[in-house]
């Protein structure tokens, strides 16, 4: 299990340093945020003076039965409503700008960082993990920062302004507030935390249920052939039952929260009615003040529970923040000492590759190569042959500088790889892998990936050269056919043909084929082979192959065994050697022929 990628649990204490760093990410929006804070303070002011309107109406109009000033009163009230309208519209708009802007900036930076990372990073980091960081974690940060400012500014301003008002109206009654605050605060914080934890559990189970459905649907064929329907259903039912109890638990906890807070508030209203009523009888406060007190008490819970929710969200979001920062702070391990500039785009690679004293291990202590040497001359085509795990693909990885050897040097055209821009190496390189990767989009776009400025005609020529044209023409919309997510709507063989067309279009100086024809049927393969041979004619080529029939025309075959080259030479040379290659070759072909011969003689 990859413990590192398990979701971190709810953190106990807030880390101010971390949140300061998060806030720093929002610095481009500091003016907007100041505006939001200002607007929210203003809004809190508006919200807290409304009960004073009622108080004024009671004390100055209703009790003395006077219509004086009712017009001005009405206009003022409507004025407050209109000002409120604009304030709300503007503050939500601005908050949206901060939230989406911050999310966008963070995504952009994380993605750029990801693109600079070396392949080893991707080997140890699941795609789902990265996607979750860039989607939900970043969204959460934007949400917390932008709406946090809204809640904080409004909450604090409201409490402060209302406190001033109630203390001015009657400091004795205001004491009821002081009595209530801790209760509401306590319940709010306690519940918000509990709710977040409960809903987090629900979300976790929900993703497991989604996964289960995915397995059920993706694996439908397998399930049917294995007759797993009942066993699957039983497992699903169990998971579903868990989901039920967690959801009910979360829903019940959330159902309890507001009623409880409102009960506490009503205790305040009761107290105000009692003590305030007595005060009214003694005429130490007015009717209007009593009414205002009642409405302040009823609304007291709102700012507090808002702020409590913010803190709970922050505790919940802390892990998200840590993960996003861990991504932003990554250091790309493979960098070049020479930066890319335009002069490089004019240089053509000759394709002379020299590996000297290479030692390499993916994991410490499991060396793939020790003191490995190899020289591939410009224009030469070389085949790598050998068992799985002997380092064929690793060798390719090192030459492409996808990985860095621990010791030794790799030179292309006499330059150490570390001293030429990565982009230059890769722009001169053509690479076709066993499991071809296509992108969502049309066939045209996918082939064009090899050369971004290629014309449609060039693309079609490349496809024709690789025998992909005929199957493409049969698809609805031919070259504009949408290949679906990761090219799912095409067969593996078709995808490989497109990958070939893509690489041919790129016109690379160094061509690497890593088990590239495994899923193409024999007849098509031989056609691809002929085309590839043409392409390989004047450039360096490295072919990794299991099927020896695919390497018949290479200049040199390298027989690899446990990270060493044990035999090297043309097919005929190696056959004469009668070594390991000979054995492998015999295994693959001769045995079949021998069987056939035997059968014929019998």
């Amino acid at each position: 299990m990859n413990q590192q990628y398990q979701e971190k649990e709810f953190t106990k204490n807030l880390d101010p340093k971390l949140w300061l760093a998060v806030l720093k990410q929002a610095m481009p929006y500091k003016h907007t945020m100041l505006w939001i804070a200002g607007l929210m303070t203003f809004m809190a002011g508006l919200d807290s003076i409304l009960p004073l309107f009622t108080k004024y109406a009671i004390d100055n109009m209703i009790i003395p039965k006077s219509f004086d000033g009712i017009l001005l009163f009405s206009l003022l009230y409507v004025g407050v409503v209109i000002v409120g309208f604009f304030t709300v519209a503007v503050f939500i708009h601005l908050t949206g700008i901060v939230e989406t802007g911050m999310n966008y900036d963070l995504r952009k930076r994380c993605f750029a960082k990801l693109q600079s990372m070396h392949l080893a990073y991707y080997d140890r980091t699941p795609t789902g993990w990265i996607v979750a960081r860039l989607n939900s974690d970043i969204s959460r940060l934007g949400d917390i920062v932008a709406w946090g400012i809204v809640d904080l500014a409004w909450g604090f301003a409201y409490i402060v302004i209302v406190s001033i008002i109630v203390f001015t109206l009657s400091w004795k009654l205001a004491l009821i507030f002081l009595f209530l605050l801790p209760f509401i605060g306590y319940f709010s914080i306690k519940f918000q935390k509990k709710l977040l934890v409960a809903y987090r559990m629900v979300r976790k189970l929900n993703s497991r249920i989604t996964h289960s459905f995915g397995e059920g649907i993706h694996g439908a064929k397998t399930t049917k052939t294995l007759v797993r329907e009942e066993a699957n259903l039983n497992e699903f039912t169990g998971l579903n039952r868990e989901m039920y109890s967690s959801s009910v638990k979360a829903a019940v906890a959330s159902a309890l929260f507001m009623p409880l807070i409102l009960m506490v508030s009503s205790l305040g209203v009761g107290l105000v009615l009692w003590l305030g009523g007595v005060a009214t009888i003694n005429q130490s406060i007015t009717y209007g003040a009593l009414v205002a007190f009642i409405s302040y008490t009823m609304q007291l819970f709102e700012p507090i529970s808002n702020v409590a929710r913010l803190f709970a969200e922050m505790q919940n979001g802390q892990a998200a923040a840590e993960r996003v920062f861990s991504l932003l702070e990554l250091e790309p391990e493979i960098v070049s000492s020479v930066p890319w500039d335009e002069s490089w785009s004019k240089r053509t690679m000759q394709g002379d590759i020299q590996l000297q004293n290479i030692s390499f291990a993916y994991k410490e202590g499991q060396a793939v190569f020790t003191d490995f040497d190899l020289h591939i001359r410009s224009g030469e085509s070389v085949a790598l042959v050998g068992e799985t795990g002997t380092g064929k693909t690793t060798l390719v990885n090192l030459i492409c500088r996808f990985y860095e050897p621990q010791t030794g040097s790799i030179k292309i055209d006499g330059y150490d790889l570390r001293e030429i821009p990565l982009k230059w190496i890769h722009s001169q390189l053509g690479y076709v892998q066993q499991v071809p990767h296509l992108f969502q989009g049309s066939i045209l776009e996918n082939i064009r990936y090899g050369k971004l400025d290629a014309s449609d005609a060039e693309v079609i020529r490349a496809a024709q050269l690789m025998n992909a044209d005929s199957f493409i023409r049969e698809l609805p919309g031919d070259y504009s056919y949408q290949v679906g997510e990761s090219g799912n709507l095409l067969s593996t063989g078709q995808k490989q043909l497109l990958a070939f067309a893509r690489v041919v279009l790129a016109n690379p100086r160094l061509l690497i084929l890593d088990e590239a024809t495994a899923s193409i049927d024999t007849e098509t393969e031989s056609l691809v082979q002929i085309a590839m041979n043409k392409v390989l004619q004047d450039r360096t080529g490295i072919v990794v192959a299991h099927r020896l029939s695919t390497i018949r025309n290479v200049d040199r075959i390298l027989m690899m065994y446990k990270g060493r080259i044990i035999e090297s030479g043309s097919h005929t040379e190696l056959m004469h050697l009668k070594g390991r290659y000979y054995k492998l070759y015999m295994n693959q072909f001769m045995q079949e022929t021998a069987d056939a011969e035997l059968a014929r003689e019998a």
Binding site: I217, T222, S247, L256, K423, I425, L429, F589
Partner: protein, 596 residues
């Protein structure tokens, strides 16, 4: 109405709890209406000394009682607290019951969906978009759950509130009621129309988010290609464009929402202002008392926000209806029938397979298989060759009845395939698919998944036969290694070998390998083929392949071309006849000839 029928079809035994939820809605609403009346009574009668007038002809307390209350105001405070406790307690009970009902409903719905989907014919699975179905099973279920848990209840609550508040208001003062509810319908209609209009925008935002995620995922899973072509900048530009589009869609929506919240807030506040301003006039004129004015203020505060919500809920209910339709569509698709000949599982079939004039086409397509006539003896090994699209996989998919054929016949042990029970039949067949699916669990469980009971010995034997033993021993946790999302990722070849082991473990009388060695390297392939050779005769074996290495195993070779059997026979017969087989053979052996 169809939606309600759908919901009720899953609500067996839940009705009592749902009724309880509705009763609590009424109780909670009724109690919450008492407080403003209590305050009104206190202010007007107890404090103000006016004669009490109770709505609905409730008993009027006597003067002495009023005097007593005036001296013991804490009683009024207490009453407020008690009424609140009841009101909020009932609210809690209401939420509790409705949550239970909704979650139970969702649980049943999910179980039903899962069960149903598993039993749908494979033809359905191969046709649908996986992502779409998963989304239906998760977010559509959730939409319906919310409909049952919240919207239904909130709607009920809002309706009850209107029905209860209006008469109370009317008994207090008719004219005041008029001004207090003037803006209410406007707020409702405004919310309803707005959310109806804005739905399109929400959808566009969801789509932009989906596109962003796909772009991200593809760029990461294709990172090798990105790097190999030095397309980092291109990817960054593509991603930024998607992110920017998503940002702009979000911003547009937030701005729209900003104007909506602000304007509907303002409308609500306007209603509250109307109550206050007209209330002042009526109070001064003596039409109503101060307490009545305050009661109206409270009531309108209680009424207007839920009414605004109702506009939104009604549009959401439209969404629930769409979701229900999408779920119904799955559940209405008929499942595979599971009747027919089913022996005890210990009863092995012999494994004799015969195709008689079999033709097959996928729904609405042209014929994939034409006139297939082939008799495979029990224990025979057949290798099928043919170009991509020649119908090899289709032919083997028909044997476990993954698809149903209509023309011709397939017989197993002389009995028509269609008269076998599918599950019994499938248990008799070990099939390995080209791109095998493995479950996200341990290797041990994956290999032994078809066994009734986990049998370590059998699992290890099958792993050994699939040349998987050495690989497994290299894993830190051996057979307990978890694969898939939460564990290690296997290479293509490892996956295929794992699937082979899974198929061999059962010792089924029929074994089918559908290009199951394509990602395995030659030496390992050799080992597996040798192991299979040793098993020869124990099961009827059908091997689909592109590689001639497997041909050594074959008793007979079948070459498919455009859905027909082009050639059939032993290697030594076919190699001497001009035809596809000879052609394939010579291509793969050209090197040998050159060397020779």
């Amino acid at each position: 109405m169809k939606s309600f029928a759908f919901v009720f079809s899953f609500a067996k035994g839940l009705k009592l709890r749902y009724t309880a939820a509705i009763v609590f809605i009424i109780l909670a609403a009724s109690f919450s209406f008492l407080n403003p009346l209590l305050i009104r009574f206190c202010i007007d009668t107890v404090l103000g000394g006016k004669a009490a007038d109770m709505p609905f002809n409730l008993p009027v307390p006597s003067l002495s009682t009023i005097g007593f209350l005036r001296n013991n105001l804490w009683l009024a405070g207490l009453a407020i607290v008690v009424v609140s406790i009841f009101a909020h307690g009932f609210t809690y009970m209401r939420s509790r019951f409705s949550a239970q009902v909704a979650e139970e409903f969702a649980r049943r719905l999910r179980n039903k969906l899962y069960d149903h989907i598993q039993k749908l014919p494979y033809a359905w699975h191969s046709k649908v978009q996986t992502g779409d179905i998963i989304q239906r099973c998760t977010s559509d279920v959730d939409t319906v759950r919310r409909f049952v848990a919240l919207q239904f209840v909130q709607l009920g609550r809002s309706i009850f509130m209107v029905l209860l508040i209006l008469p109370i208001m009317l008994t207090m003062n008719a004219k005041m009621t008029f001004y207090s509810t003037l803006v209410v319908p406007i707020v409702f209609v405004y919310a309803y129309v707005f959310f109806k209009q804005v739905r399109r925008r929400f959808k566009a935002q969801d789509e932009a988010e989906g596109y962003l995620t796909t772009t991200l995922e593809e760029s990461i899973s294709g990172i090798r290609i990105v790097k190999a072509f030095a397309r980092e900048e291109f990817e960054i530009n593509r991603f930024e464009k998607a992110a920017l589009d998503y940002r702009n869609k979000c911003r547009g929506l937030v701005t729209l929402m900003a104007w909506y919240w602000a304007s509907s807030d303002a409308l609500c506040m306007l209603q509250i202002a109307l109550v206050l301003i007209f209330g002042i006039r009526f109070t001064i004129n003596g039409d109503i008392t101060l307490g009545t004015l305050l009661a109206f203020s409270s009531y309108i505060g209680m009424l207007i926000w839920p009414v605004r919500e109702m506009g939104r809920i009604l549009t959401d209910m439209g969404r629930a209806q769409v979701s229900i339709g999408r779920l119904q569509e799955i559940l209405d698709t008929p499942v595979e029938s599971f009747d027919g000949i089913a022996h005890d599982n210990s009863h092995r079939i012999k494994g004799e397979i015969e195709f008689r004039e079999l033709s097959f086409s996928y729904e609405g397509g042209s014929d994939i298989l034409k006139d297939i006539n082939l008799k495979i003896a029990s224990g025979e090994t057949i290798v099928i060759l043919g170009a991509t699209g020649s119908g090899k996989s289709t032919l083997t998919n028909l044997i476990p009845r993954l698809f149903d054929y209509s023309q011709g016949q397939i017989l197993i042990d002389g009995i028509d395939l269609n008269s076998y029970d599918r599950q019994y039949l499938r248990k008799q067949i070990g099939i390995v698919l080209q791109e095998p699916f493995l479950y996200a669990r341990s290797l041990q469980e994956n290999i032994g998944i078809a066994l009734q009971n986990v049998d370590v010995v059998k699992v290890q034997k099958a792993a050994a036969e699939s040349a998987l033993e050495e690989t497994i021993s290299e894993f830190e946790h051996g057979y307990e290694t978890v694969i898939g999302e939460r564990g290690i990722t296997l290479s293509g070849g490892q996956r295929q070998r794992c699937a082979i082991a899974r198929a061999l473990v059962l010792n089924a009388p029929i074994i089918i390998l559908d290009d199951a060695l394509s990602a395995v390297d030659t030496e390992t392939e050799e080992t597996i083929l040798n192991n299979l050779k040793r098993r020869k005769g124990r099961a009827t074996t059908i091997i689909i392949t592109h590689r001639l290495s497997s041909v050594t195993l074959a008793d007979r070779i079948v070459v498919l071309e455009h859905g027909r059997i082009a050639q059939i026979g032993k290697h030594e017969d076919l190699i001497n006849v001009p035809g596809v087989y000879q052609r394939i053979w010579s291509i793969q052996h050209k090197l040998e000839e050159e060397a020779g």
